[in-house]
Amino acid sequence: MIISVASGKGGTGKTTVTASLSAVWDAPLLAVDLDVEEPNLHLFLHPEPAPPIKAWMEVPELNADKCTLCRDCVELCQFKALSIMISSLTLYPDMCHGCGGCIAICEQHALRPGKRELGVMYQSRAGKINFLMGTLRVGEAMSPPFIEQVKKRALKTIRETKQDVIVDAPPGVSCPAIASVIDSDVIVLVTDATPFGLYDFKLAWKSFSPLGKPMGAVINRAGLGTRHIYDFCREKNIPLLAEIPFDRSIAEAYSQGRIITDVSGELKAIFSSLREKIRALGSTTPPKEVDHA
């Protein structure tokens, strides 16, 4: 089973939930950090050091001698990654989305595959847990192609070892978040009950509903904010999987890089119960209702 821990709003506790759930998971597990812009899971799971694995994306390289300035590539490219300046073709590899169109369309074979570094992956172990993370190169704008590569590696790993996967997804509801959750079996949405949390939770629910996956909610810092989130979950039939109480000792434990299941027996029980509810949710058929409002 692949479980994605996602949220609309950042800072609601995705990583806390991912780390705690990983700690109480009682079957072979691969924990994957797909929040490649700001990966944090390793700060809590403390994986063993591992050699970096570089990830690349194909971008065109020019052999200017062969270029006849026919403009076919410039006209095809939707991302302004090539242009003709004065009398030469100029490439902007940072703008390239790696579609391969320019290379395929060039009849003169003046363009050939080159590469741009997207980021670095690390794969190792954290105790019993298999661990995989991606770190986007700072300055790289495009996280989705990198997320795809980390995911590909994760899927290959579980094909060989048949383990469950828990994914720490990036915040938001646009392309990086969708790319992260699209191949999972269950989506766990973490939110708090503040107005910001509620607004972004609704956006996340709207974005992920068309994927047709079972979804459930975890309310973090319960007791802070309002009751509206509970009403919304009831109205939309979103199962409430767990509530994590608002407690300064949890915030302090988090600030020390500790997994919060170590804070109290009560918290450990909350996450053990969450584990079972996720398993049950994973074996249900997803709701058919989709809000188009």
Binding site: N40, L76, I182, G225
Partner: protein, 289 residues
């Protein structure tokens, strides 16, 4: 014209609550919410929409079934696994389509359409603190970077027309596409962090991004009393890297109270954190120059 961008790397550090407070304190400014994916600033500023505009960007492939012979060229050429075949019928998964046009260009039957995408809505609004430009990308959409660029252009235009010399912008979390679009050419950035391992880790990445684009960055440590040791490590980091420390703010539930009341925290009368935020804003104004 000065453009001050509030960002954080990590989400949930307090960017938006602080931006609302600064919007309350600053004179003569345009307010801009550059988190077009999960915008929240409007929840505090309660804008009245004066102009509502559609945001169109990019295109998306659509296979016209009548002309399709099922040759499979499109599926073969697509690098984004957006085209699949079921019972001999080829179709495009719009969530995966990158809008690159490769399938359109190589379809031997020329039977793939490429309509423009309607990706979101943007607004020019009035608020109790002044004009605000903001947007909402449709859930699951792409092109957030282009929408950010459009909002910034609009903000600059309004500022020029009205003799306003400050644009105050709330940014998105992360270091990717929308943040890069927010940063390039900004006057300075205020990085809001928290004293946790994640806060520090993400601060370092977003600060590196600012250096990369040669944008001056100052730092606010929010919720500083949650872990004073970690706060000191961040302080030390700022000293070494020459990022001015603009404020250390306490963890205060009044921030949530203000959110529930749809107010900036500085509007709630005299509070300790309100006082600290006023001082922080003075420092930011000096820093922005």
């Amino acid at each position: 014209m000065r453009e001050i961008l509030i960002i954080s790397g990590k989400g949930g550090t307090g960017k938006t609550s602080l931006t609302a407070a600064f919007a309350h304190l600053a004179d003569n400014k345009i307010i801009c919410d550059l988190d077009v994916d999960t915008p929240d600033l409007h929840l505090l500023l309660q804008p009245r929409h004066e102009r509502v505009m559609e945001f169109h960007a990019g295109n998306e492939a659509q296979i016209e079934q009548d002309g399709c012979t099922g040759c499979g060229t499109c599926e073969e050429m697509c690098r984004f696994n957006a085209i699949s075949q079921r019972d001999g019928v080829y179709s495009v998964d719009t969530l995966r389509c990158e809008g690159c046009k490769v399938c359109v260009a190589f379809c031997p039957e020329q039977t793939i359409l490429f309509p423009e995408k309607y990706c979101g809505t943007w607004y020019r609004s009035s608020t109790r603190f002044g004009t605000m430009v903001h947007a909402q990308l449709f859930p699951g959409e792409e092109n957030s970077g282009r929408l950010v660029t459009l909002l910034r252009q609009e903000a600059r235009k309004i500022a020029l027309e009205n003799n306003i010399d400050l644009i105050l912008s709330d940014g998105a979390p992360g270091v990717g596409c929308p943040v890069i679009s927010s940063l390039s050419g900004a006057h300075c950035a205020v990085l809001v962090t928290e004293p946790t391992p994640s806060g520090r880790h993400d601060l370092e990445r977003v600060a590196t991004l600012c250096d990369h684009f040669r944008i001056r960055a100052g730092v606010i440590i929010n919720k500083a009393d949650i872990n004073p040791d970690e706060a000191r490590i961040i302080e030390q980091y700022c000293r070494e890297k020459d990022y001015p420390l603009l404020a250390q703010l306490p963890h205060d539930p009044v921030i949530t109270e203000a959110m529930v009341k749809a107010r900036a925290v500085t509007e709630l009368g005299e509070t300790e954190i309100g006082k600290s935020i006023r001082q922080a804003w003075k420092k930011i104004e000096q820093f922005a120059g």
